[in-house]
Assembly symmetry: C2
């Protein structure tokens, strides 16, 4: 898997995926909110926060919010812009179009999930 | 996501994915073994076991072993055939070919991972 290859944003532009801007400190979403899209950071930084501590800093090219995209469940953590930030929203149909075009992208999202599971296994 | 649509095994046959048979009680793999393929149960049942307890019963159409396929890490649990069982091995190239053909399959595997993460979050 070529983790280092920068993501080609042109597919998101072709799909008409919406861009959203956030100021430092502004929420992208809060824990337990309903949600069905994930986000990719275009510029800036988003902190993923649960139980009052930062789980992850997500920077340009990084993704967050993927759990709700996958299973339409409530947000399992909050996502807060840590500085002026631009993200692209990826809906389920857009996600399916991306991975049809670039199956490695699915492996990349799955890699995030796998890392989280292995980290939690270690903490058990 | 159409969870109930049975998986079309013909793509695995076209890809030449290898079938393997196991007797009741036989191991498919043990915890900490290296591994890079996942498995789909064709018939029978596989128990996924860690810390001496059964995490999951995987039946026909179900998949297991996906973590090692994703990140090439060691097996995080053991997989033991609970009865005479046939599985198909899915390598990373086969997985990429499947999801290019059927992107929903990626969502199905991701759904498994998401369920596991949410269960672990609840246990924390």
């Amino acid at each position: 898997m070529d983790e280092d290859r920068p993501f080609d944003f042109s597919i998101l532009d072709r799909l008409g995926a919406p861009y959203r801007q956030f100021d430092a400190g502004e929420k992208v979403f809060l824990e337990d909110e309903p949600g069905s899209e994930m986000y990719m950071v275009r510029s800036g930084r988003v902190d993923v926060i649960t139980y009052g501590s930062v789980l992850e800093n997500v920077r340009a090219g990084g993704i967050f919010g993927e759990l709700a995209l996958i299973d339409d469940g409530p947000r399992s953590a909050a996502a807060i812009a840590a500085e002026p930030t631009e993200v692209v929203a990826i809906s389920k149909p857009a996600f399916l179009a991306i991975i049809r075009d670039d199956p490695q992208f699915a492996l990349r999202v799955m890699g995030l999930l796998a890392t989280r599971i292995r980290r939690m296994n270690k903490d058990v």
